[in-house]
Symmetry: C2
């Protein structure tokens, strides 16, 4: 047991130092913001996901095995031999002009009209989020996020000591009524709202999408309230059932900062994403990028540029869509076949994730070690909330395992849940006390 000795850190104190002080001699010297830097559930699960006997429904790693690796290797070899002295040199902080022009072509697939001057290349979309937060947020500033929201974004927002205010979703994504209420409530409390962070397509982790009309409503609210929208869109081109819905950015170029990525449509190992921002914001982002890295990886940019120029990238995305659709279907079939009564889930029209709501009194976080023992992994729902809620949910990903593995994974998971429910029934365990919160009822779409 650790006893807290008041004043034990003072110089010359006769009392022994606290144990954590002894373990880390630098503990008094870190910045305030390090208190918010904690290991995410996703990180801890990387190790688990790598064990071959576990079916991991946890990670968000894309399938890249079907890329034309042989010919891609050849293209990169030519790139090095012919343009190596530029591709391997320092580059512009904003990113390479040729790639920025190609990025505009990619965005045109979602009805965005943009100029390469307004694009800033980032070290994956994650760094785009970090740069934006660095440019906009002082400690205590509010960011409005869907409930639930992307775990990596919540990590960045914590690192910059912001306050995340969650806003409920309904079957069509971010709920306009809840959004208005959240804005009014923050303003009444004298808080500064810096932006609305939203994932309109195939939401991570909720697996639902905003129809065009909903996007218009959210944009209208943001504009009337003078609040910027940050539209995070890594999955927009990975829809299974229809043409891409126009991006929010396609409806307005002054009120929206758009984040894109090649991690899901090509490969994440190059760490190339981008930010499309209004001119004045773009200028700040370039300075932030220069301070952070001097320039984003030049060789990665040349490689992706060569890929976009010499390969049928649209055809490749189409192939990926077919593959992920088959896996989504396997997951929905597996859940339908195996899940105990009282379980519900979203039916994503694209992307990588299904959001599962499990019956009371199950707790997804508490159950995880037993699930891993039963050789299936997932991400507990509370990873996607800034406030510890979400333990009656879990994120299941179908992007990397095969259809057979996915179905087996849902079977194992259902078995674990069934066992937990039986034990709970025997001992009448009421489960751990849970806070009630408006945005957990009804939660995301559970059609």
């Amino acid at each position: 047991m650790t006893v807290d000795h008041p004043g034990s850190e003072g110089a010359g104190s006769p009392l022994p130092a606290r144990r954590d002080t002894r373990l880390d001699p630098y503990i008094g010297t870190y910045a305030e913001r390090t208190h918010g830097m904690t290991a995410s559930a996703v990180r801890a699960l990387f190790a688990v996901a790598n064990r071959p006997e576990v079916v991991s429904l946890a990670g968000g790693m894309p399938n890249i095995a079907d890329l034309p690796l042989e010919s891609l290797g050849g293209a990169i070899a030519r790139l090095v031999a012919e343009h190596g002295t530029r591709a391997m040199q320092y580059g512009a902080g904003q990113g390479e002009p040729v790639l920025r022009a190609q990025i505009c072509e990619v965005m045109a697939e979602e009805a965005i009209s943009a100029h390469p001057d307004d694009v800033v290349v980032s070290v994956g979309s994650q760094q785009g989020l970090a740069l934006l937060t660095q440019v906009f947020c002082d400690p205590g500033d509010v960011i409005l996020c869907e409930a639930p929201s992307y775990v990596g974004a919540l990590g960045v927002f914590r690192t910059y000591q912001t306050q995340v205010v969650h806003v409920a979703m309904d079957a069509d994504g971010l709920d306009p009524i809840a959004l208005r209420e959240a804005i009014a409530s923050c303003r009444a409390a004298g808080k500064k709202i810096k932006f609305i962070y939203t994932i309109p397509n195939f939401h991570n982790p909720a697996g639902i999408s905003q129809p065009l009309e909903r996007r218009r409503e959210i944009l209208a609210i943001a504009k009337s309230e003078g609040i910027l929208i940050v539209e995070d869109n890594p999955y927009g081109l990975l829809g299974f059932d229809s043409e891409p819905t126009p991006a929010i950015r396609s409806l307005d170029d002054g009120a929206v900062v758009y984040l894109g990525s090649f991690s899901k449509t090509f490969a994440p190992g190059f760490r190339i994403g981008w930010i499309l921002a209004p001119h004045a914001i773009k200028e700040k982002l370039v300075l932030a990028q220069e301070s952070a890295t001097l320039c984003p990886p030049v060789f990665s940019q040349y490689t992706i540029s060569a890929y976009l120029q010499n390969f049928d990238w649209r055809g490749q995305i189409k192939k990926s869509r077919e593959l992920y659709r088959e896996r989504r279907d396997a997951m929905l079939a597996g859940l339908q076949a195996h899940m105990p009564p009282g379980t519900s889930w979203t039916r994503p029209g694209g992307g990588f994730f299904v959001w599962l709501t499990i019956p009371a009194p199950l707790d997804a976080e508490a159950m995880l070690p037993r699930a891993v023992t039963a050789r299936v992994a997932y991400v507990p729902g509370n990873a996607f909330y800034a406030d510890g809620l979400g333990t009656r949910h879990m994120r299941l990903s179908y992007c990397l395992p095969t259809p057979d593995q996915i179905i087996e994974g849902t079977r194992r998971l259902a078995e674990v849940m069934g066992n937990e429910l039986s034990i709970n029934a025997i001992f009448s365990n009421p489960g751990r006390p849970r806070a009630l919160h408006p945005y957990e009822a009804p939660g995301p779409d559970q059609r």
Copy 2:
């Protein structure tokens, strides 16, 4: 003329908005830290440096034309074909274990004994600096830096709203007496010193190095005062005249955080550097890296790992040293032949840079446009000071131009200086008033 109207930003004010408010509609919404984010002199010069008629002695771009590009391309092609699904996937936030082990071998060249677990891969050494500053510094915290210091580090330190306190250098680098004085003076003023930032080898921009005995002195001061040393060492293996001096980190593994980079010894376009840190600090850095980028570029890491494994990287560095030595000799010969009386400069034993002190009343910043008109570029000394001093200095780099270009560059520069001095003599222009500061006299070594 802009007239400031008090209260003109209030809602419903009848007065016109200030001009900058009109230009940037988001101006009231940025974070405080953006006030410190300004374009560096080095950035503005990238455009100039690219014009073919200008001899650029400004940039710090390494020579990579002599790398074995053809066979390197082949090695990367095999990497993609055989290991593409791992090399192009997400990876560990800390960096790939194989590369971290190889990095320990590279550091052994400078007498460092380290474990791969204590290495964190960064997006170039620049991002290593950014992560460290993020982990240690709250706004207002003090960082002790050499006078002058690396422009990119000063940019990061500004972004995190720290206070840079410069410490004088002498012929052997960071001056221990000045260091003790700076520490005492900061502490007397109640300021928190977070670390000493030093570049012990072939200093950028000063071009001087700390002998082993000086390193011991600085380390002893840091340890007795309980202040961490951040040792930034991109050029350590690029010495011309002798074996590498043992790194400060080789003398102590608890009081030093070491920053390394492949940008100067291999190629900067992959954006791979590293941080070697005591265990507890390393843990914080990994969390900061995950928040910033999820993981550093995996493909770059695999590429560098393949290069270290399959190529004679020690032999390649030896070749680079010969090339840079020849260019250093050309620069020293050019300066000797052309510079007007009253000019002095450092004689680097390695690395990329010479630090020039120009005669009063010349002002390196004011003179730059005329130098560029005369087709020679450099970085004015004030870029390397956090406080605007340094205009009687300039950084000259010899890493990229050929020996003939370097000699011609020094001739053009000397001509510009000669013209300026003549005009000044005619008009008895006393030059712009300059602050005197202890660390500008005697300034870095001018042997």
